[in-house]
Symmetry: C2
């Protein structure tokens, strides 16, 4: 594993874990008020394109981080659809 | 500019702009309740390391995006220090 990939994985872990408390709170309280559909669309699209960037640009750290983040975003989306009323 | 860099810049613009509403609201209301010090430490460190990753790994899109994001985080930090009481 190259130094750059290692650095990227550390950075990715920090930036992804930094919004885990918000995500966990949403799952615990079934309330997705913090996350507007506009935010989902923009952030989700951005993360998806970072994933493509990571794959196309042979940047495994970027790909891995954004794959995980994308899964979190999908989970939140499902939560918002199911519990939309509580926004 | 390579395709990968172009893809990265689009992704970076989306993910950075996606949390601009929260940042602008904080500046407008002088309230940084959305952003805990724990989040600042983790997210700020992660973004700084992504910046290093972008420079070390010759990934200009990653470097540019995270340089901008880091400036936003610094601005929010300054706001939180000045208006901390309103949290």
């Amino acid at each position: 594993m190259s130094h750059a990939t290692l650095i990227g994985l550390v950075a990715g872990a920090l930036t992804t874990l930094s919004w885990l408390p918000q995500v966990l709170r949403a799952f615990r309280t079934h309330s997705t008020g913090d996350f507007s559909w506009g935010w989902f669309a923009m952030f989700g699209t951005g993360v998806a394109i970072w994933l493509i960037y990571g794959l196309v640009g042979d940047a495994p750290a970027v790909a891995a981080t954004n794959a995980l983040t994308f899964l979190l975003v999908l989970g939140l989306c499902a939560l918002k659809v199911r519990h939309g009323r509580k926004v």
